[in-house]
Symmetry: none
Subunit: 199 residues, 4 copies
DNA sequence: CATGAATGAGGATTCATTCAT
DNA sequence: AATGAATGAATCCTCATTCAT
């Protein structure tokens, strides 16, 4: 009934919980949430099925932890990038740098992104967290621009649109979806769009 | 195991198969593929559970049919739009028209899009069909532009990027994700981007 | 999710549902509710585990059906007895007859009685049904007495107490609990008590 | 498997074992034997789950200890009552006193009684102990009566029947099962029965 | 003695698919 | 072709018991 989930304080326990989350991360990425069962997660993590429920309420709870890790993986590099912006703004150079980072991040996380994002429509919390992630990225970028003296009307809309374009490009580029596309050229086009967007 | 699936020739059978696909469409949209079971689909379609396997190999097979319907629903309106392009090209007007149509289409199909797209990572055929859809849309648009005398370098890349931008905007606008965004202004920004993309 | 339980109309289905209830009856009687699992019930009934859930919502639901059968088994013979009371009341003879019937009934149903009665403290419905059973028996007997011209103060209390005494005796006699007891003599004592209770 | 169970000699250990038994007592009474798990017992007792198996072979073993406590709780007050009988026997007064005590005892122990008694049909030892309890009570009462000069034929049967009647009444009265019963009147009826049983 | 994390068998339930009618 | 009852493998989760520390 009312369960006690161990909030692990000791190093060994923290490590074990991490192992489970990691196993979930990998398996969800490989096969999707619904095609992964808890026994598999336990096995991959090298633990018993029972202990999984010592650290998590249920399977969904593992997924929520995986989601947090994913969000950290995606948000972290962007944050780092913007925290290192110095001196005058060179929009084109910055856009280029961001795009590379977004592609790189997407390359590492595309599979888990799909697996988790697909839960958006049926899981309220997942939905909320994905939206919040986009909001925070938009804010972070907008704040940085303003701090460095940039100004423009509808800045939030410009930034948000830029993020959308970056994401769409990254998704294309990572999966190399279409043989008829020259992704190098497409990249140039994207960068030009961003440049024009910010004057 | 692999049984003979009736390819229905008679009107009544065709109708029945359509009912099942339709039920699958609705339910996948409402609750996702994995949260929908075949008994529900049969019930919604007003047929027995058994007969579902008279028309489809398995649950996935229903989904594949649903996917085809979805693709038709999305592709059809765009085709129609471009088949009606007449006289000189007014890029801005055309972009505006397309964007409205994409948003409208997305509004109707967002739920099923999510449900099906999420299978992309685990189902090869789904993945392939989604890619093909994008390819065909790119080609259709590109061909139309050329036919009407438009020319530019890297046209495929420009068109494809435009599609990405339209889709991203439509997704945002439909779900009205972010309270901090003024979607009317965002729409203007998107149109301007497209305009600049095509000179 | 929201389940459809077949309320069987056809003979074959009714028969199958009965088989499951019967298997539950036997197993609960043999090993108790908690020591019986649904797979065993299915096996004993000669059906698959799955179909059990076609006829019952869950394990408890089987138990509730078993309870109804049990109540019929216990109540039926008593009803029959009182429906056959004719002419003038011979309390002593009637008491004797009832006692025999109660012992006989108890002999057949003691095991399931224990199994089900033990759920009384944790299952509201079980509790209610057991109470109702006692109430109905008390009423039935009281009504019959009155109909046959018997009258006394606190009749309900007398009847109810008699039932308690009968039950207690039956329980003792069936299990032959105590070697030091002469159950034939004890029976005489019980009959005498009843006689004195009703003058 | 079968480990050495510590028979605690030291005060602290005795105390700890008592705590566990007490926790088991409470929880079995609250939720029944099968709905209580060992982790809960340990928690309620303020000990670790592991140490429970230092003092008890298994969960059943705890229950057996609880049963002993229960038997003491029920038997003790009756013993005390009869040890205090002095002078000439006033059957009616004595019966009244006993009945009050039985009701009082039942009030305190009804829940655990149900929980433990329900195991009677599946656990040989539990069954035996419950029978022995009744036997001992019968003997104790009979001996006391004889010691105080009372004599009658079939004394054991009379006493045992009385006990049954007391128990049945107590059970009714404690749970206040039936709204149509006037329990005060019923009590009078019971007392009168006892009186007539012993002349 | 004590802890509480860990084990893994077991149990209730679901559901894609088959089959008797 | 159609029905819907039937199957049984698969899945999530629990819990008595053990074990490393």
């Amino acid at each position: 009934m009312a369960e006690n989930i161990r909030e692990p304080k000791q190093q060994r326990s923290i490590e074990k919980k991490r192992k489970i989350t990691e196993a979930g991360y990998e398996l969800f990425a490989e096969k999707g949430y619904f095609n992964t069962n808890t026994a598999e997660i336990a096995k991959r993590a090298g633990v018993s099925t029972g202990i999984v429920y010592g650290y998590f309420h249920d399977k969904r709870d593992i997924m929520l932890d995986v989601l947090d890790i994913y969000i950290g993986n995606v948000f972290g590099p962007i944050i780092a990038l913007f925290d290192n912006v110095e001196g005058d703004l060179d929009i084109k150079a910055l856009a280029s740098e961001i795009l590379d980072k977004v592609v790189e991040t997407h390359k590492k996380n595309a599979a888990i992104h799909e697996a988790l994002h697909s839960l958006t429509s049926t899981d309220k919390i997942v939905d909320t967290k994905f939206r919040a992630l986009e909001g925070e990225m938009t804010n972070k970028i907008t704040d940085t621009l303003i701090k460095h003296g940039y100004s423009n009307d509808y800045l939030l809309e410009r930034v948000h649109t830029s993020i959308n374009i970056f994401q769409a490009y990254a998704h294309e580029a990572v999966f190399d979806n279409h043989t008829y596309i020259d992704y190098v050229k497409m990249r140039e086009i994207v960068i030009n769009i961003i440049e024009s967007l910010f004057k």
